[in-house]
């Protein structure tokens, strides 16, 4: 069966709970053993008391008839509680393991996988696995035992009838074989369609502004409707297929047990059996038939869980490209010297994005990268903060290869402000203190002041405790960006990286932030990518990149001094000379 090994891998997560599981199995065995008793008691009651009239046995057997099921129910409750606890914990462990893995995966993975898909896997697939781990796996064990006991018992009572029973079970299996493929196929189709629906909704929610401004609500709804119809259609087919399967099961069950019962009656007529035997036999037959039904159901679940587990382990097996060396050294206070030595990098083999860069940055220097879209600016920043590893050459930090450091230590040395400002649905305070949880209120306020956002926050009704998102707070892009900058400042990093961080700010607040930054960056190495040349004029080094190589390098003055320099041309354009001359 495909995915079976995957299921067994799920169970490797269970090692932690082996004692509980052992207890569970023990109780299950006990229960299975006890399940043989009720039909035997009924038989004794019917044959000995009612038929032969042994009234003295009545009380004793009556007591057993009453007490045995109660005892087994009580044991069952303990067993079920254990199974729920174990399975729930197991799934929690699995989810955490996957989520942890996701958090450490490289950006390359997230560039090609949509978040919606990941969320779906994490939330939905783990549930299908849970169902199997929980009730299902135990049911298999107990059903197998009960079925074995029941088989032995039926053959002991009457072997001819037992053979008939086996034929009925064979028909069960046949029904399963014939039907299950269609059910599984359509279940998968429904799941796929639902994935698509999910992705569609997510896509639309991400583009809500565009939908509103172009007035395409009707069209988008039609798209949803079209997808929905397909999903519902598959859902109908799946449910009908399921229904046919179950109706067959119940028909086989009903006709099968009736046949056995009536054949039994016929045997009673012939005198081969007593009526008590018949009742006991039908009791055991039920114990055999229902496991067969459940088993068919279970195999479906198992298959589904196998697929789910496969998808989950696909995620777990996604290699973490950025790994720590076993002998990685800690780094706590970097001076901030960065050296590029013939650094090469490619995302896809054969397409080099960085083609041999040599660059030496002294502690405390500010380096600015400029160049056209796609020239590799952001890539360099990604290399410095080790979101990717270089594919050639070395990148040294304080004279040591960047790959020698512990990853977590390394990242905590950087303050990164990204082009896209992400705020999380929590308070503004927590958003600012995101990079340093134990920051005091004073430090948070100080960071906000440095990013020139304090006045705005203080003016909100709930101040720093305003919940972003929940409180209906409408932040402008510039405000979001400034909160992001405050976050980076608050983290108090050794090296600051700003990727287009100030592009959405007006020149005024940009200038103010610039001032704050100059103060903040006094002892920090910083790397800046900016389109606005005014932002970077004061940088210690300005690097003009062109298709992965350094085209021009120097300070503002040095670069302006190059007569036909491209920087000079860019700068003149930027300050709007051309326009004003018109």
């Amino acid at each position: 069966m495909p995915g079976q090994s995957k299921i067994s891998r799920v169970f490797s997560f269970a090692r932690k709970y082996r004692r509980l599981i052992a207890l569970e199995v023990l109780l299950t065995l006990l229960l299975a053993g006890m399940a043989v008793l009720p039909p035997l008691i009924t038989r004794a009651l019917v044959d000995r008391v009612f038929t032969r009239g042994e009234a003295d046995q009545f009380l004793f057997l009556g007591f057993l008839f009453l007490a045995v099921p109660i005892l087994s129910q009580l044991i069952a409750i303990v067993q079920k509680t254990l199974s729920v606890l174990v399975s729930v914990n197991l799934v929690n462990d699995l989810r955490l393991a996957i989520y942890r893995h996701l958090l450490y995966l490289s950006l390359r993975f997230f560039n090609r996988t949509s978040p919606g898909k990941v969320v779906n896997r994490l939330m939905e697939d783990t549930w299908s696995v849970q169902i199997v781990c929980g009730s299902a796996s135990l049911t298999v064990v107990s059903d197998l035992i009960i079925a074995t006991c029941a088989t032995v018992a039926t053959f002991a009572i009457n072997w001819r009838l037992a053979l008939v029973l086996d034929i009925v079970i064979a028909i069960f299996v046949l029904n399963y074989r014939l039907r299950i493929k269609k059910i599984i196929r359509y279940s998968r189709l429904v799941r796929r369609e639902d994935d698509l629906l999910n992705a569609g909704v997510q896509n639309r929610m991400g583009g809500d502004l565009a939908i509103k401004t172009f007035g395409t609500e009707a069209r988008e709804h039609l798209a949803f409707h079209d997808q929905d119809v397909v999903s519902l259609d598959y859902g109908y087919t799946r449910d009908v297929a399921n229904n046919v399967f179950w109706m067959n099961v119940s028909l086989i069950n009903a006709v099968g047990s009736a046949t056995i019962y009536l054949l039994g009656c016929a045997m009673v007529l012939q005198g081969d059996m007593t009526y008590g035997d018949v009742m006991a036999f039908t009791g055991f037959a039920a114990q055999l038939l229902w496991p067969a039904v459940r088993f068919s159901q279970l195999v479906g679940q198992l298959q589904e869980a196998g697929v789910a587990a496969q998808r989950l382990f696909e995620l777990l097996d996604e290699p973490c490209e950025i790994t720590e060396k076993p002998d990685a050294v800690p780094c706590h206070s970097l001076r901030g010297q960065v050296d590029f030595e013939d650094v090469h990098f490619h995302y896809e083999p054969g397409v080099e994005v960085i083609k041999g860069i040599d660059l030496h940055v002294k502690p405390g220097q500010t380096v600015a990268f400029i160049g056209a879209t796609g020239c590799g600016k952001s890539t360099i920043l990604n290399l410095i903060s080790r979101f990717y590893d270089v594919t050639g050459g070395t990148l040294r930090l304080d004279g040591r290869d960047i790959r020698d450091y512990r990853l977590h230590d390394l990242r905590s040395q950087f303050g990164i402000v990204l082009q896209e400002s992400h705020l999380f649905s929590t308070t503004i305070r927590e958003n600012i203190a995101y990079g340093r949880i134990n920051a005091t209120d004073a430090e948070v306020v100080q960071a906000a002041k440095a990013a020139e956002i304090h006045d705005f926050i203080a003016g909100l009704p709930k101040g720093y405790d305003t919940n972003v998102g929940e409180d209906g707070l409408a932040l402008s892009v510039g405000q979001k960006q400034r909160i992001n900058i405050a976050r980076a400042i608050c983290a108090d990093p050794a090296i600051m990286i700003m990727d287009e961080a100030t592009s959405s700010l007006d020149s005024d607040s940009e200038a103010a932030i610039q001032r704050a930054m100059t103060r903040m960056l006094a002892n920090r190495t910083s790397f800046v990518v900016a389109h606005r040349l005014s932002t970077i004029k004061n940088a210690d080094q300005i690097i003009l990149l062109d298709h992965g190589v350094i085209a021009e390098q120097g300070t503002h003055e040095e670069l302006m001094a190059i007569p036909d320099g491209r920087y000079r041309e860019l700068y003149n354009k930027h300050i709007g000379k051309g326009v004003l001359d018109d």
Binding site: T51, Q73, K80, L107, M123, L197, A199, G206, T373
Partner: protein
């Protein structure tokens, strides 16, 4: 009772505090509405399937009656007396049920004397043939009921699917219609969980309610009727259990309901958390917060699972007590019946029949216990769905709306416009905070008046947070102003038909929104019927064409969700191309060149000047180079118009604009 949950651990970050969770709607109102809007259109199919389920529910009684016939009239098991075996046969066949013949008490010796011959003579002569007929009837009944229920199930499945579809689509439509501030407040993950998983939960619960409810009622009626005819004492005994069941339900019901609401809530919060963090994984990694995030997830996930375990536990306990009562009563009936049989007052067949009927009658009783839990699930899910459907739509089309005045002759007039963002948090504020709120002006725009003559350009400048984007959003009617009006050629914006407004008004937002699909589809988003040449022209105007042509499959290049494979500048240009393609009458540009390098920006400004010549445009920009191209420049400060005039006039005023000019051109 196990205490799995500790309440004070519940309000984690990323989990909505209790006060935010919408008002409780009463169950009956919800059901009535669900009945009216979703079930009523399908009433005939539903009725039919309910009828079939009801008939079908009684098949167990038929089967056990057949058993009784087998035991009593064919096998004649039990209570044989060894006195005059041959003669007594006819007597018992006729008088068995009515006047039980007094018999000798069974003797110990009876067992020994049960030889085959003795028993055989007790049975009707044609027993074998009767048994065969019985078998035929039995199996035919089975087939009939089975196929009847297949038919019923099919009907029901199709009804279910259509209800699910309608609910899903209504929600989706509603969410699309709701304003941006609602989307912003709930976030994608949560909306997704409403549209997809709450509707599915409602459908499943409905399905169960119909099946379980109908089966329960039908079996109850059938069972009570049989017992009334058979032995009313058993019925009394059963009747005594009902209050016990009700008490059981009553005790656990509110707790289970609360837990189920919590569970659905936590579930949607996990969706929200995970989708947000997966979106921003770079930020998470760059601050080394993987561990903290894991913890946040762990908390939510554990809260969910703890609630799940607890609900499970409640079910288990309730089920155990239910089962125990059923079992005890069952035993009492069995023993009482057995006693009657031993006394010879009842035949074994009848006893088994009545006992199994009583047993079956427990099914509806326990079903009703189940039903109350299922109804809760339905109520919770419906409550969440209708919660979205009831959300008022802030922006609606006026019934007397007129088309957009096209071509625009006079211009766009903004008159005494004020705006305040709707606050979602009023209820959660403390009194002091509310006081502070009142004293403070939270108006984003206050009393803004501007006029843009047709064919002219207005540039809006100002510090970030001064209300520039809000003004554009109001012009695009994404929000409704708190006070004041916007008029296009004297027609109030509120009275313009949506479709024509969207057609004539082009908006380029600050943050470009990209859909997953091909480059071409994205550019043609606002005008899907565009020819290839038109698309190429728009892309070229937005300085996008060359870059697209460098890609392997050019305009057919697929862009991932949210355009993650594109840089910020590329996205802005794509969004600009999209707006230019629709060839709008009035264009609103919101700082749409902020992420571009100077060269590209310059080129775009030049093409815009060509493309927009003679059109009305209102643009937000930070760049002097853009502002100088505009006929008028307005500087916003704290929601007021601080400066207004041409480039030259503002330079002479020596205010914000002049300062900006100096900074950018020094």
């Amino acid at each position: 009772m196990l205490n799995f949950t500790r309440e004070h651990f519940r309000d984690y970050p990323y989990r909505t505090p209790a006060s935010h969770r919408g008002a409780e709607v009463s169950g009956t109102a919800l059901y009535r509405r669900f009945l009216r809007d979703y079930l009523w259109p399908n009433r005939w199919s539903l009725l039919l399937s309910i009828l079939l389920v009801a008939i079908n529910a009684n098949y167990s009684y038929v089967i056990s009656y057949l058993n009784r016939v087998a035991v009593d009239s064919i096998l004649v098991v039990g209570g044989e007396s060894d006195v005059a075996p041959v003669e007594s046969e006819t007597v018992r066949l006729t008088a068995r049920d009515h006047t039980p013949v007094a018999r000798n008490p069974p003797t110990v010796g009876a067992g020994r004397r049960i030889g085959q011959g003795v028993r055989f003579t007790n049975r009707p002569a044609e027993a074998g043939r009767k048994l065969f007929f019985l078998a035929v009837i039995y199996i035919c009944t089975q087939f009939a009921f089975n196929y009847l229920s297949r038919w019923a199930a099919r009907r029901q499945i199709s009804v279910n699917q259509s209800i699910l579809g309608k609910l899903r689509e209504d929600l989706h439509q509603k969410v699309l219609d709701l304003s941006l501030s609602y989307h912003h407040r709930l976030g994608t993950g949560r909306l997704l969980s409403r549209i997809m998983s709450d509707t599915a939960a409602a459908k499943n619960a409905l399905n169960e309610v119909i099946n379980v409810g109908t089966r329960g009622v039908s079996m109850l009626v059938g069972g009570v009727a049989i017992l009334l005819i058979g032995d009313w004492r058993i019925l009394v005994l059963l009747g005594m259990c009902v209050p016990v069941f009700m008490a059981l339900c009553k005790k656990t019901r509110p707790e289970v309901q609360r837990l189920q609401i919590e569970q659905r809530q936590t579930n949607s919060c996990i969706y929200g958390l995970v989708s947000q963090k997966m979106d921003a994984v770079k930020a998470v990694q760059s601050y080394g917060r993987e561990h903290g995030e894991l913890l946040a997830f762990h908390r939510l996930s554990s809260a969910y699972l703890r609630d799940a375990v607890r609900v499970e536990w409640y079910f288990m306990v309730t089920n155990f007590w239910t089962w125990l009562i059923v079992h005890l009563v069952n035993c009492v009936i069995f023993l009482y019946g057995g006693y009657l049989v031993l006394q010879g007052k009842m035949s074994l067949g009848k006893m088994l029949f009545l006992q199994s009927t009583a047993n079956l009658l427990f099914q509806p009783v326990t079903d009703f216990t189940q039903l109350s839990f299922i109804l809760q699930r339905l109520q919770v899910a419906l409550g969440r769905c209708f919660g979205v459907l009831d959300e008022p739509i802030e922006i609606t089309e006026d019934p007397s709306a007129v088309p957009f005045p096209s071509p625009i002759r006079q211009g766009v007039a903004i008159e005494h416009l004020s705006f305040q963002y709707p606050s979602g948090s009023e209820a959660s504020l403390t009194p002091e905070e509310r006081e502070r709120n009142r004293n403070r002006s939270s108006l984003v725009l206050s009393d803004v008046s501007l006029f843009v003559p047709a064919g002219q350009w207005l540039c809006i400048m100002g510090a970030s947070g001064s209300g520039k984007t809000t003004l554009l959003h109001l012009l695009a009617r994404l929000y409704t102003p708190t006070a004041g009006t916007i008029r296009f050629d004297g027609v109030d914006l509120q009275k313009i038909q949506f479709a024509s407004l969207r057609e004539k008004l082009g908006v380029v937002p600050q943050e470009a929104q990209i859909f997953s699909g091909s480059m071409r589809d994205n550019i043609a988003y606002g005008y899907p019927r565009a020819t290839n040449q038109q698309i190429l022209n728009a892309a070229a105007a937005a300085q996008m064409h060359d870059f697209i042509m460098e890609m392997p499959v050019q305009y057919e290049t697929l862009i991932g969700e949210k355009g993650q494979s594109l840089s910020g500048g590329q996205r802005q240009r794509l969004s600009l191309a999209r707006a230019l393609l629709t060839n709008p009458e009035v264009l609103l540009l919101d700082d749409c060149t902020s992420a571009l390098d100077a060269n590209t920006e310059r080129r775009i400004q030049e093409t815009l000047a060509k493309e927009l010549a003679g059109k009305t445009a209102i643009m937000v920009s930070q760049r002097i180079s853009m502002a100088v191209r505009c006929h008028q420049i307005a500087v916003l400060a704290d929601g007021h118009v601080a400066e207004l005039g041409t480039h030259q006039e503002l330079l002479e005023r020596n205010g914000f604009y002049a300062k900006l000019f100096r900074e950018q051109t020094e």
